[in-house]
Amino acid sequence: MRTGDDASFREFARGKALSQRRTAYLLCGDWHLAEDLVQTALIKLYRVWPKVSRKGPVDNYMRQVLLRCWLDEQRRPWRRKESRDGVVPEQPGTHIDPMGISDLLLLALAEVPPKQRAAVVLRYCADLPVAEVATALRCSEGTVKSQAARGLEVLRAAVTRREAELLPAERSR
């Protein structure tokens, strides 16, 4: 890769690593896996960087690659099992306010099927327009709308169920 391309890639990687990790975390719910996904996506992006970067903004292409990496990961049940076995690494406590809406939504998001979750995360968490989500998911805008609607439905059911589970525990205190 030419020096200028390499420098612009590094600039992009430094600037987007945190936001991409956040998107990856919302998709997979695990900070360690999220970092693995972002690194894999960046390595894949590097191969095509000169061509892609000349076409315009790369953000959506990066999201596509990240999504593909995550969906590929979903198709490897043996790897998921491996990462869930044994001693689980320590994680920063994300349950500072377990009754908060953010914590509830994060737990509920894990119950949404992968493609619907991707549509929900990109559409409502990353606040992307339907057209950009469609490009990232490589599907039509109609499919994005239906996947996002179904995802919200599953999410609402999961939130309602979890709230109902939490209420008796609160009352018993």
Partner: protein, 279 residues
């Protein structure tokens, strides 16, 4: 909960983001090596084909020269070792970076080999984060300083909801004491939030118990709507352990240190510094 509440909740999700556990520059270097290895492999393969092709041509009676042109080795210019182009950021951010580089050695006098690459935008305009890396007597250390403008703070959990209502506190295993989450009113009308961070085992993930306290965060909610946050945690990213040779006796990298790199007072000094602002 209706769709609108769900969408608002998703839009304003508040995540306790740990420091970035990898160095984007190192990822670029790894990617560059992989591309070069791939090219070298393809080059060797083409060279082998060319040699075979020439031999076939020669044995076949020399019907003409081989037209295969082979790049014998990797091509392309070497990557820039500099590779440190600064992101196009506004002068306020540049001034904050300059100030941060000046104050860190003063606030953390025991810090050596300090690296502060730049402020980056982690989740869009209005939020910038600088990752500070250094080593001290204990080992490698890193912390994030995040500065948020009033616009960038819109999606954050409001101060009155932080810490909960105290009815369902997160407690520390063995002691039963709640994790500290304290709001301290300041004379200028701002509020300082000090929060302990706990670590949970997998078994504790569905409970309100943490194994132990592993860090502390300070956030300054200013009267003008902006916020400044910094955190000090025991965790050590692997690339930093590699950089400073922070290893276990068996040669594996240590991923945590016995204590966080900054004290509460050092964090408070950082976050209340008026020079850190996106106003």
């Amino acid at each position: 909960m209706d769709d609108k509440q769900l969408m608002n909740g998703l839009h304003g999700l508040a995540l306790a983001e740990p420091p970035l556990g990898f160095d984007p520059d190192e990822v670029a270097t790894t990617a560059d090596k992989k591309v070069r290895n791939r090219r070298a492999t393809i080059g060797v393969g083409l060279a082998t084909l060319a040699v075979l092709g020439s031999a076939v041509t020669f044995l076949g009676g020399g019907t003409g020269p081989s037209t295969v042109e082979v790049a014998a080795g990797p091509s392309g210019a070497p990557p820039s070792k500099e590779g440190k182009a600064q992101p196009p950021i506004d002068p306020k951010v540049t001034a904050m970076l300059r100030h941060l580089r000046k104050v860190v050695p003063a606030i953390v006098p025991e810090a050596k080999d300090i690296t502060i690459p730049d402020f980056l935008e982690p989740s869009g305009p209005g939020v910038v984060t600088a990752t500070v890396e250094f080593r001290d007597r204990v080992g490698p250390a890193t912390f994030n300083l995040t500065v948020t403008s009033a616009e960038g703070s819109v999606g954050m959990k409001s101060l009155d909801k932080v810490c909960g209502d105290g009815t369902n506190p997160v407690t520390v295993k063995g002691t039963g004491r709640p994790l500290r989450c304290e709001k301290i009113a300041q004379p200028d009308g701002s509020t300082l939030l000090v929060q302990e961070i706990g670590v949970q085992s997998k078994a504790q993930m569905s409970t309100n118990e943490v194994e132990r306290v592993a860090g502390i965060h300070a956030t300054h909610y200013r009267a003008d709507g902006t916020t400044v946050n910094a955190g000090s945690e025991e965790s050590v990213p692997e690339y930093l352990a590699d950089r400073f040779g922070y290893k276990n006796p068996d040669g594996t990298f240590k991923t945590s240190r016995p204590s966080g790199p900054l004290t509460e007072q050092q964090l408070i000094t950082l976050v209340t510094d008026p020079a850190f602002t996106l106003k």
